[in-house]
């Protein structure tokens, strides 16, 4: 069963604008295809299943060309360590995957190269091809590489609400819809929560509260920002305290499974698949894994509104040519990326694996992914939520983000385990985070 959803004017215009250009550029693109060589690509471990068919298809489309891929750790610190070590050893692949928080750091460390030569090379993929919000995540805004683009997003990911239809049916509760508010979500989550004494055996909702994709949209929904004009964290604002209080109250009540609870359940999507979580905040990129572990019927819905405003976390991993790739294998790397982002090339195969909303605005409504058999059925949710996206500020250095994640996790523990007031826990976290921010910025970011 597929759901056709109404096309937004914006996406139609974007598609119309893009298609003639793509047709024209496509003919030019078809003229310069490499016929030999090896392209080395470093991919994240969890992305291997989805990307292997893409590599196989490219090799089939380019006889004589081989893709030699290597696995990089899927966690942030592991990824950074692996790539920096390879750079020191002069063994970077031609193309590497990366996450948005590392855009500036990897640019400064010469792990990634500026992608503007590729985007301006006359191929079908240009500066305006890829969705601006996601491309902007990899725009470096300060330092020696200012204004460079150091990554091309692989998907247009937003946080949506995955829900277990069977749990809702058994409880006689209507499925989530676009009118849901945060309060309604919690009310339903409470009804769906099951306990054995004081131990929760099934959580109504799973949401990682110390994850920026959870708290940044909430703070913006209350009309504030995460950082001040000096790039320092503001966690003592009314908005920040409200957002964290909203979520942590539910963690304390045993209704919401945050990161530690999800870990105890074996992981967020694993818990959803096992039926120990009824609703899950997650992203399209994890849909293949969710499909593989979930036997109950399920679907997706837009994230509820907070304070009458709909905001949702947004982001994407990316790929970038490395300096070694630019120097030694540019032609092959350019050709691969142009093919990767084409509708009948890599994007079609990647999207067919359920793991991606193409980061090309012209493909937001493309049947290559909207017409895939469910679950999920309501695919319009993924494209529609992009307009409500709230990004983690790109000015946050990667070294500081590590501290942020740690301190907010500790703040959560203090509130949930020791009943420390939210304001006090956030105050302590803010002090450590801003000390790290000052230190890292003074050292050049």
């Amino acid at each position: 069963m597929t759901n056709k959803f109404s096309l937004s004017r914006r996406s139609v215009l974007a598609g119309l604008a893009a298609s003639p250009f793509a047709l024209a550029a496509g003919s030019q693109f078809a003229m310069a295809q490499p016929t030999s060589g090896t392209l080395s690509i470093g991919i994240l471990d969890w992305a291997e299943t989805g990307i292997k068919p893409v590599f196989a298809a490219y090799e089939a489309a380019r006889p004589g060309v081989k893709i030699d891929y290597s696995i990089l750790p899927g966690d942030g610190p592991g990824l950074r360590q692996a790539l920096l070590s390879r750079r020191l050893a002069n063994k970077l692949p031609d193309i590497t995957y990366l996450a948005d928080i590392f855009a500036t750091q990897f640019a400064n460390a010469q792990v990634t190269a500026d992608m503007r030569p590729f985007l301006n090379s006359g191929g079908p993929i240009t500066m305006t091809s890829l969705a601006k919000p996601f491309l902007d995540q990899y725009l470096v805004t300060s330092g020696p590489n200012k204004d460079g683009i150091f990554g091309l997003p692989i998907g247009a990911d937003t946080v949506v609400l995955y829900y277990n239809k069977k749990h809702f049916d058994e409880a006689g509760i209507p499925y989530p819809d676009d009118s849901w508010t945060f309060e309604k979500q919690i009310e339903v989550a409470t009804q769906l929560t099951q306990k054995n004494g004081s131990v929760t055996t099934r959580y109504g909702l799973a949401a990682s509260v110390p994850w920026h994709a959870t708290y940044v949209p909430g703070i913006e929904a209350f009309g504030d920002t995460l950082l001040d004009e000096n790039n320092m964290y503001k966690l003592q604002t009314e908005a920040a305290i409200k957002v964290f209080t909203m979520y942590w109250d539910q963690v304390k009540a045993g209704v919401l499974a945050s990161s530690p609870q999800q870990t105890q359940l074996g992981g967020g999507y694993q818990a959803f698949g096992a039926g120990t979580v009824s609703m899950l905040q997650s992203v399209r990129a994890l849909t293949p894994l969710i499909r593989s572990v979930t036997t109950d019927d399920w679907d997706v819905a837009l994230e509820p509104t907070i304070n009458g405003v709909r905001k949702t976390g947004m982001g994407s991993i990316a790929q970038a040519i490395t300096p070694q790739g630019m120097a030694n294998n540019q032609e092959l790397a350019f050709d691969y990326l142009n093919w990767f982002y084409s509708e009948d090339g890599g994007m079609k195969i990647l999207a067919a694996g359920y793991g991606t909303v193409p980061p090309v605005e012209a493909l937001y409504t493309s049947p290559i992914w909207t017409d895939l058999p469910g679950p999920p059925y309501d695919n319009r949710v993924f494209a529609e939520s992009i307009q409500y996206g709230a990004m983690n500020p790109t000015s946050i250095p990667a070294d500081v983000q590590v501290v942020v994640d740690t301190e907010l996790a500790k703040a959560e523990e203090a509130v949930v385990l020791n009943n420390v007031p939210v304001a006090d826990a956030l105050k302590a976290a803010e002090a450590v985070i801003n000390e790290a921010m000052a230190r890292v910025m003074a050292a050049g970011g």
């Binding site: 610190p77 950074r80 360590q81 131990v199 105890q264 070294d399 740690t406 500790k410």
Partner: protein, 321 residues
């Protein structure tokens, strides 16, 4: 004439001088006595020790004087990293948590190893099964053990919770409780360290002269008296060895357990030095500062090793040990 000339030694024997010690006949020198063969056999170990121990230690000491994040050039900061340690609340906490873990881990390991070794140092039907069970943890990897025990401690489906529930007891969320998290980790570490202690104690127990025990029994000594006055003093050297090995093992092997099971939480209650060093070096990329903390850990371990196993004067011929 025709008499056989007798050798000097024969004459000496007949003269009753056989008690005189004759100089040993001069042996032809063996090929294995040469320095070349000594170097050949010792060399690989020296090379490995130098490459994997000595050089990293020296490199780490040197790195502790720099500020480096793998991206920019290392910047010499002298002793700034060590000064920063003194004002680092998390560093102080991690040292105290490490000491706490040592107390919870070393004493039970030594005590239980001894008791179990004494108990299984007998022959009864099926004793080999018990012996195998107690020694099994030594073949299980640290990470696998951590994953296994994480499941054991699960408050919903873990066997410990199930067992407590059978008796009507509602146990804590062990790994999410700031009071119980460290004892929970130390139980895992003791379980992992027991086999080595048992093996060493078993070997020591079997070295005890059985006639001492028989004599004590004849004199009316009961099991407790034999344990206190004969067995325990005789295994004292092994006790010190197990102390040092357990100390070293807990300080270094506990990283795997803590990282997999709690990652230093909840609320830094299991944030031992090894976990903090890992976080500094690989998550925050503060390699110089992490090296300084590693140096502190190295000094702590060295001091503890010297306290419990001080270097002794090498025995020479005729000198008592």
């Amino acid at each position: 004439m025709g008499s056989t000339l007798l050798s000097k030694t024969d004459t000496a024997d007949e003269a009753g001088l056989s008690a005189i010690v004759r100089p040993a006949p001069r042996r032809r020198s063996s090929r294995t006595d040469s320095p070349f063969w000594a170097a050949l056999f010792v060399g690989p170990n020296v090379v490995l020790f130098t490459v994997f121990m000595l050089i990293p230690i020296v490199w780490g000491l040197a790195l502790s004087l720099f500020d480096w994040n793998l991206i920019y050039e290392p910047r010499f900061v002298g002793l700034d990293n060590y000064v920063a340690l003194l004002n680092d609340a998390r560093a102080v906490n991690s040292v105290s948590k490490t000491v706490y873990l040592l107390v919870l881990g070393v004493v039970p390991t030594v005590f239980l190893s001894f008791v179990l070794a004494v108990l299984i140092n007998t022959s009864f039907p099926g004793y080999s099964v018990f012996r195998t069970m107690y020694l099994l943890p030594i073949v299980i990897s640290l990470v696998a053990s951590a994953v296994l025990w994480k499941f054991m401690y699960d408050p919903r489906v873990g066997p410990i919770a199930q067992l407590l529930g059978f008796f009507g007891i509602s146990g804590p969320n062990w790994l999410q409780d700031t009071t119980w998290a460290m004892p929970a980790l130390s139980l895992v570490i003791v379980w992992l360290r027991l086999p080595l202690g048992i093996i060493l104690y078993l070997a020591a127990l079997q070295q005890i002269n059985p006639q001492l025990l028989e004599a004590a029994e004849i004199d009316g000594a009961g099991p407790w008296a034999k344990l206190r006055h004969i067995i325990w003093p005789n295994v004292m050297p092994v006790t010190l060895l197990i102390l040092v090995l357990t100390l070293r093992g807990i300080i270094f092997d506990s990283f795997d357990i803590a990282f997999v099971m709690t990652k230093g939480g909840p609320l830094n209650s299991t944030d031992i030095l090894a976990v903090y060093i890992y976080d500094l070096a690989f998550a925050q990329l503060r390699l110089g500062y992490a090296s300084a903390l590693s140096t502190v850990l190295f000094v702590i371990v060295t001091i503890l090793a010297l306290v419990f196993n001080p270097p002794r004067r090498r025995p020479t011929n005729g000198d008592p040990v």
